[in-house]
């Protein structure tokens, strides 16, 4: 249609895609249209937001630009367009009913932490929402966790069952109110209600009595399980050693650190060092757990994070936590409510069944959680402030801001790995990476994984046309993927673990199309290799769409199944049993029987590994830091902490490293281990050796990179959650090489599902 120059006013339609629902977008458009004096309408569709107005060519341009420049805080526009349509006459500007036709194509709004306005309201004793634990507005509140269908409307969330009181309805309909079209809006008159159970029996309390009562109980040393945004959290007095110990015993969690919730940044600053980037993240609408360094001389949280100088902290991200935290006034333990190794509990019934043995008090509420999510965990490296995602869940998932792999428009489902499970979707338009879904060893996690997958399919109305799985055929995710493919008669593609890691970090840095060569340094604990061995210390080339294993750490014996990663002493033995003089360090770690037995098993063994995860384990054990771990990654974390601590107290340019031979593209660990043993004999401190070990790894990377004459280095795998290692790599390699780390995703196996999509986009092109 041509622009009709005789009629000044014509009808224009604007389309917006991205995170545009559940963030106050329609009210924002409404206000703006009013300011411009436009007539027309705005609505939500399954694709995003649609605006239709009468305007002249000049003012529509102005409107469009102003609109894009001033979008609501939590909105994110990925695509937008304006077009001239057939002329229509409108009387006023209105928010129209959502349109339910068409294909779903929208990013899902993540849960938004309580905003400043709502925070002020609940603390204002004269406000009707004073101390109301479920206060929300169009800028904050649960979103992804309560979504049932799209487009985003109250009826398509678990708020659908709540009737608004006249007052709330007024707010909802008033264009100048913050709660105009706020779908999660409630107040004490139409409240979301809590229920309290102590020792399995219901306690009768008025709604406004509950939090003060809980505070009293927490002060008395009780542990509470309380329903939050993505599931239940276990909370208790972080400064009460007895509470910490009680929780450890009840959770069968001897040493894994607990996260803490502080009432304010000020309280937090008393115990931990906070940099600007960390504060920004803590107070962002995602409000994740951030790993912070404890201030020197502060040992009041020794039991919270045994032997660690860093603790995971967060700020209250929901009004309920805000009120509770404020009234309690100090640090609260805030750890996922689950039985160890099981997924976070998010259904009330399950909480009453499963958490009763852990928590003295259980607090439910009748706003149903539909999508379980743990709290996200993020850390910054000390020197270079490189952001490292440890866990990506509440506040971030399931959106992935990438756009789309430029492949054929087929719906591709990637099943991910196992211990840190996620799934990823490439739909026709968008890319989604699910929240961290836990360890698929657990039956409940398997069920959760499956349910989240089904929920996702339902909400986005999408069905896979192809399924991607890991090469490890015993992973539940692989088995489920195969089964789904069989049922739906669609193809399955098997993708090697480390290639998926590599493809993930390449894609995150827009390197899939690069014509230059990239060296992938893919280091993790376990991934099934193409030669039937367990890979984990990999150097790979990427060139013009092809992956090639270039070098790897020399194989050592992988024995005793999952017992090996649980017991670093076994890695120590496997790595160094052939070295002279090592016996005196290793033997005391075993009983006579074990020692003889394992040496025999080592001789007969077939399965090999190049795992750096196990190398860290082995070194930690040789240094007598730890012989048996109680949580995954413990040995590597302790080794890193020892090294960081040493550097803290020895402020100089560290230059020492163990020289390592590379023979036929295999990095020999024997010299490295022999060097460590020499240093132990020379009575060098554990911290010194730990730093030297880290630096040696950087040297190895640098050597291989230099030899292969490659400019681009990309890093993936759980080993790169090690902040010191990442810092050292940047310190020593950034000058000569272009370094690429993960951006939105974790380097650990959470990125595998996304990597599978990335890999597939290459082989499919």
């Amino acid at each position: 249609m041509e622009i009709d120059t005789y009629i000044a006013e014509q009808t224009f339609q604007i389309h917006l895609e991205g995170i545009v629902q559940g963030v106050g977008f329609r009210p924002f458009v409404y206000q703006l249209a009013r300011e411009f004096g436009f007539q027309g309408w705005v609505n939500n569709t399954k694709k995003g937001v649609q605006i239709c107005v009468n305007a002249d060519a000049e003012s529509i341009q102005d409107f469009y630009e102003t609109l894009l420049k001033n979008i609501p805080k939590n909105a994110f526009v990925t695509a937008s367009s304006v077009e001239l349509v057939e002329r229509e006459v409108f009387q006023d500007f209105e928010i129209k009913q959502s349109a339910h036709e068409g294909k779903t194509n929208i990013l899902l709004t993540p849960d938004l932490a309580i905003c400043q306005d709502c925070r002020s309201e609940i603390h204002l004793m004269t406000d009707k929402r004073a101390n109301y634990a479920f206060t929300t507005c169009s800028h904050c509140g649960p979103r992804y966790s309560i979504i049932q269908a799209l487009p985003y409307d109250r009826q398509s969330t678990s708020m659908g069952t709540f009737e608004m009181c006249p007052n709330c309805k007024k707010e909802y309909q008033n264009p100048s109110n913050r709660r105009f079209f706020a779908q999660t809006n409630t107040c004490p008159d139409c409240a979301v209600e809590m229920r309290v159970f102590e020792n399995n029996s219901a306690i009768t309390l008025a709604q406004n009595e509950i939090i003060p009562w809980l505070v009293e109980r927490i002060n008395a040393g009780k542990i509470i399980a309380i329903k939050g945004i993505g599931g239940y959290l276990l909370m208790g007095d972080a400064n009460n050693l007895k509470v910490v110990e009680k929780l450890r015993v009840r959770k069968f969690r001897p040493s894994k650190p607990f996260a803490l919730m502080f009432p304010t940044i000020d309280e937090l600053e008393k115990v931990a060092e906070i940099q600007e980037d960390e504060q920004a993240l803590l107070t962002s609408s995602a409000a994740p757990i951030v790993l912070l360094k404890l201030k020197k001389g502060n040992d009041s949280f020794e039991a919270i994070a045994p032997n660690l100088k860093h603790i995971g902290v967060m700020l209250p991200y929901s009004p309920l936590f805000e009120i509770l935290s404020q009234q309690f006034g100090k640090a609260l333990i805030a750890t996922s409510g689950n039985i160890s190794h099981s997924p976070i509990v998010f259904k009330d019934q399950k909480a009453l069944e499963d958490l009763a043995e852990i928590a003295d008090i259980i607090v439910t509420n009748n706003r149903e959680i539909l999508v379980p999510q743990d709290d996200s965990v993020i850390r910054f490296t000390k020197n270079n402030r490189q952001k490292i995602i440890h866990r990506r869940a509440r506040g971030f998932a399931p959106n992935y801001f990438y756009g789309s792999f430029n492949t054929h428009k087929i719906n591709t489902l990637a099943m991910g790995a196992s211990l840190k499970s996620t799934f990823a979707w490439q739909t026709e338009q968008n890319l989604y990476v699910s929240q961290y879904l836990g360890d698929l060893e657990s039956f409940d996690t398997q069920n959760n994984f499956q349910q989240c997958l089904e929920h996702f399919e339902k909400v986005l109305e999408v069905q896979p046309q192809i399924v991607l799985i890991d090469q490890h055929q015993a992973y539940f995710s692989s088995i489920l993927g195969l089964q789904m493919a069989q049922e739906k008669s669609i193809p399955v593609v098997i993708i090697q673990h480390h290639k998926a890691h590599f493809a993930a970090v390449l894609a995150e840095n827009n390197l899939l199309d690069t014509t230059e060569k990239v060296l992938g340094i893919i280091w993790d604990g376990t991934g099934f290799g193409e030669d039937g061995n367990i890979w984990g210390g990999e150097f790979m080339f990427y060139h013009a769409g092809n992956f090639e294993r270039q070098a790897h750490f020399a194989y050592f014996e992988a024995i005793l199944g999952d017992k090996m990663p649980r017991e670093p002493r076994i890695s120590a033995l496997s790595l160094s049993h052939t070295l002279p003089e090592v016996e005196q360090y290793l033997k005391p770690k075993f009983t006579e029987k074990e020692y003889e037995l394992y040496k025999k098993i080592l001789k007969q063994n077939q399965l090999k590994t190049s795992s750096i995860g196990r190398l860290f384990d082995g070194v930690a054990s040789i240094l007598s830091i730890i012989d048996k771990v109680s949580y995954e990654g413990e040995a590597a974390i302790l080794l890193e902490e020892m090294a960081l601590d040493y550097l803290e107290n020895h402020d100089f340019d560290f230059k020492e490293f163990y020289s390592v031979k590379i023979i036929q593209n295999q990095v020999q660990t024997t010299d490295l281990l022999q060097g460590i043993i020499e240093d132990i004999k020379a009575k060098k401190s554990v911290g010194f050796i730990a730093v030297k070990f880290h630096f040696s790894l950087v040297k190895i990377i640098k050597n291989i990179a230099t030899q292969s004459k490659i400019q681009h280095l990309a890093f993936s795998g759980g080993v790169f959650q090690n902040a010191l290692l990442v810092d050292m790599i940047i310190d020593h390699c950034a000058e000569k090489f272009k370094l690429h780390f993960h951006q939105q995703l974790s380097p650990n196996d959470e990125c595998i599902s996304f990597g599978q999509l990335a890999y597939f986009s290459l082989i499919n092109n």
Binding site: I339, S418, F443, D562
Partner: protein, 329 residues
């Protein structure tokens, strides 16, 4: 056997010795086969024994071969009566070892109350066998009250294990690769037929299924049951009896006792309301004192076996596929 161990022995010579030792009326007739009367519903079973080592703490391949077939028949609800016995012997097996095995067979038959009524012996060249292979087949009359079939499984049925699990497998493991443990673990190989008969006398059709979890252990058998019956099975780690030495030997090797082979142990799946009295009776019978109710048949998660761990988490007990690869990253 063979050269260097007492001259050349022919099959014939051997057989006459075997015949003499295992002598009974039917065997003594020396027909090409055994001839006897039978009536009613019969059960018939066969198994070959190729275990290494042939002597292990608590037993040897001979008694294993007898007990194995006796137990397989018992699991059908039958009362074992007659067995066939065949040897495939590798040249070089010592006469002493062979006789020891034979004597064990004789005692095992007496203990179980069964007779060897027909048999065969072959000697193969060195390198074509592994010391000795034994095949036994057995026949027995089905207990009049027995109605044992996978289709009889009902939601709510209780799963009972008759004794400590994983003992036999760990006994074998302890000697196979020369992996000696703190204290010697003895195989629990034994004939279960008398125990089963007593239980069938008392509980008859309320016993829905009997299985002996030999190779692949309790985990494998329960998986087969869940798969074939299209029900779900729940088991509870706390309830599963394992003797301490065996548990720590498993821990030592990173093995799950649920996957380790058993011999003198059976699984019974019985109607829920008789489970307690079944357990009570079983505990007083031979080889039943350590029996325990370890789980139940459920309607959910069809085809899957779910273990509730000691700390309350739930884990899928998979059918073991190939070797155990590490999974932890």
């Amino acid at each position: 056997l063979g050269h260097g161990s007492g001259g050349i022995l022919t099959n014939k010579l051997l057989e006459s010795g075997v015949f003499k030792l295992l002598s009974n009326d039917l065997l003594d007739e020396k027909h090409d086969g055994a001839v006897f009367n039978a009536s009613g519903k019969m059960a018939f079973s066969t198994d070959s024994y190729v275990i290494s080592p042939i002597f292990f703490p608590g037993g040897n391949i001979g008694e294993l071969a007898v007990n194995g077939t006796v137990n397989d028949l018992s699991m059908c609800g039958a009362i074992p009566a007659y067995l066939s016995l065949s040897f495939i012997i590798e040249e070089g097996l010592s006469m002493k070892d062979f006789w020891q095995i034979l004597v064990s067979i004789k005692f095992a038959c007496e203990r179980a109350g069964v007779q060897i009524v027909t048999g065969d012996t072959k000697v193969v060249e060195k390198g074509k066998g592994d010391k000795i292979f034994i095949n036994t087949s057995g026949i027995g009359t089905v207990h009049p009250k027995a109605e044992i079939h996978i289709k009889r499984l009902e939601v709510g049925d209780k799963i009972i294990v008759s004794g400590n699990i994983a003992t036999h497998g760990m006994a074998i493991m302890s000697v196979r690769e020369g992996l000696e443990f703190e204290s010697t673990i003895l195989s629990d190989t034994c004939p279960l037929n008398h125990t089963i008969k007593s239980l069938l006398d008392e509980f008859g059709t309320d016993i829905h299924l009997l299985r002996d979890p030999t190779r692949g252990g309790v985990a494998t058998v329960l998986n087969e049951i869940a798969r074939d019956s299209k029900t779900g099975i729940n088991i509870h780690q706390k309830a599963i009896p394992v003797i301490e030495e065996v548990a720590s030997a498993c821990e030592l090797l990173g093995l799950d006792p649920l996957y380790v082979a058993n011999e003198g142990v059976f699984l019974a799946i019985v109607k829920a309301d008789i489970a307690d009295s079944f357990l009570h009776s079983l505990k007083k019978l031979d080889f039943g004192k350590d029996a325990a109710i370890i789980g139940e048949v459920v309607a959910e998660h069809q085809g899957q076996v779910i273990l509730t761990s000691k700390i309350g988490g739930k884990r899928v007990v998979n059918m073991l596929v190939g070797e155990q690869l590490p999974r932890i990253c």
